[in-house]
Symmetry: C2
Subunit: 219 residues, 2 copies
């Protein structure tokens, strides 16, 4: 895949060594993350709201359940910023200044379009469910026409986008390596615990294997 | 503590039953989360960037290491939105439509002020380190004057803010409870794994207990 062409707005100002415009990097982060944060502007005030997303090729679909505020504004096709962040670890350096985090993040700039076409919307809706639990969309009652109508799905093209990634141990000042402070990384991962059956689930209904062994991280 | 007074911008439009203006709720979420997403506007385009934060009373301090773009804009004291989201679980309903997540989020609207006062900045800087690893700021080389100068710290008052919280099992349509689809919750938590010592750490330097048994979640 060709890298995403950088623009003046997605050229790295700070720490370009951590930046990437490679689609494989960008896609990997978007696909692993469960949620995104969508930024939009209303009356000059920025709003940032969490919601779920899914990637279909070079399009990002965003679930519109993030409040009437956003939707009223976004349906007109307004500029948005969709940011996705995965936290991989705490980086503890010998100096306070060099403390950091290991993370992977993607920033997408673009115009959000409200998905009106019923077939595209139905596909995007299924993809949103599949993104969270692969295989799940075939094992649920599908959305009715009314439910589909009641759900807003927004589409943002992944055209102006960049990733940032930090990995590895702390980088201290050379003169600090002799200091008697412990330094290293505390790895962090979003971990699934044993699934809790709905209290109203009939006895004997088995848990699907994909749910019983659910995991998120690529690693 | 008195609740935070709602404004027209922080009154809940959608699912008011999940909303809260209680300071204990807002503070608990801010204190547990490792990162926030800061939204600001530049030339009409919203930007959303992840960074670290810490709460000191009714002030939120945000680490300014989020790119030259943001800082150039924010130092003038511009409107921001700081959003913090914790993912607690996947909510798998019998219908695609009622799939959801258990989460806790806070949205703060306000004007970010660049912290210029050296003493306030030093305290905020320590608080940022303490927020990530309690006790850590006493076991590192403190920031030099130059390092402090090189770091931007922004302050946002926690005055116009709200929390949203979803907990518990899926809520399906009454007519769907008889369907043969597994339903329930997959709990999720950001989990710390065993710390990895910096390869350049001298042999025999013990790992501090707070790092060895690091955990984030309040539960």
């Amino acid at each position: 895949m060709n890298p995403i062409a950088p623009t003046s707005r997605t050229t790295f100002v700070r720490r370009p060594d951590r930046g990437s415009h490679e689609r494989t990097t960008v896609n990997g982060i978007l696909d692993e993350a469960l949620i995104c944060h969508v930024g939009f502007v209303m009356d000059g005030q920025p709003f940032v709201l969490p919601t779920t997303h899914t990637r279909v090729g070079e399009r990002l679909y965003v679930h519109g359940a993030m409040g009437g505020r956003m939707l009223r504004t976004m349906r007109q096709g307004i500029p948005v910023c969709v940011t996705v962040t995965l936290i991989d670890g705490l980086v503890l350096a010998r100096s306070a200044f060099h403390h950091s985090m290991n993370y992977r993040s993607v920033v997408i700039l673009g115009t959000a379009r409200n998905v009106e076409d019923e077939e595209e919307k139905r596909l995007a809706f299924s993809a949103l469910v599949e993104h969270v639990v692969p295989g799940r969309s075939a094992d649920v009652r599908a959305a009715s026409d009314l439910e589909l109508k009641a759900t807003a799905v927004l589409c943002v093209p992944i055209e102006e986008a960049s990733a940032k990634v930090r990995t590895g141990p702390p980088i201290d000042d050379e003169t600090d390596y002799g200091l008697p402070h412990w330094a290293g990384v505390i790895p962090l991962a979003l971990t699934a615990h044993a699934a809790i059956a709905d209290p109203r689930l009939p006895a004997g209904l088995p848990i699907p294997p994909a749910i019983a062994r659910y995991g998120r991280s690529g690693g």
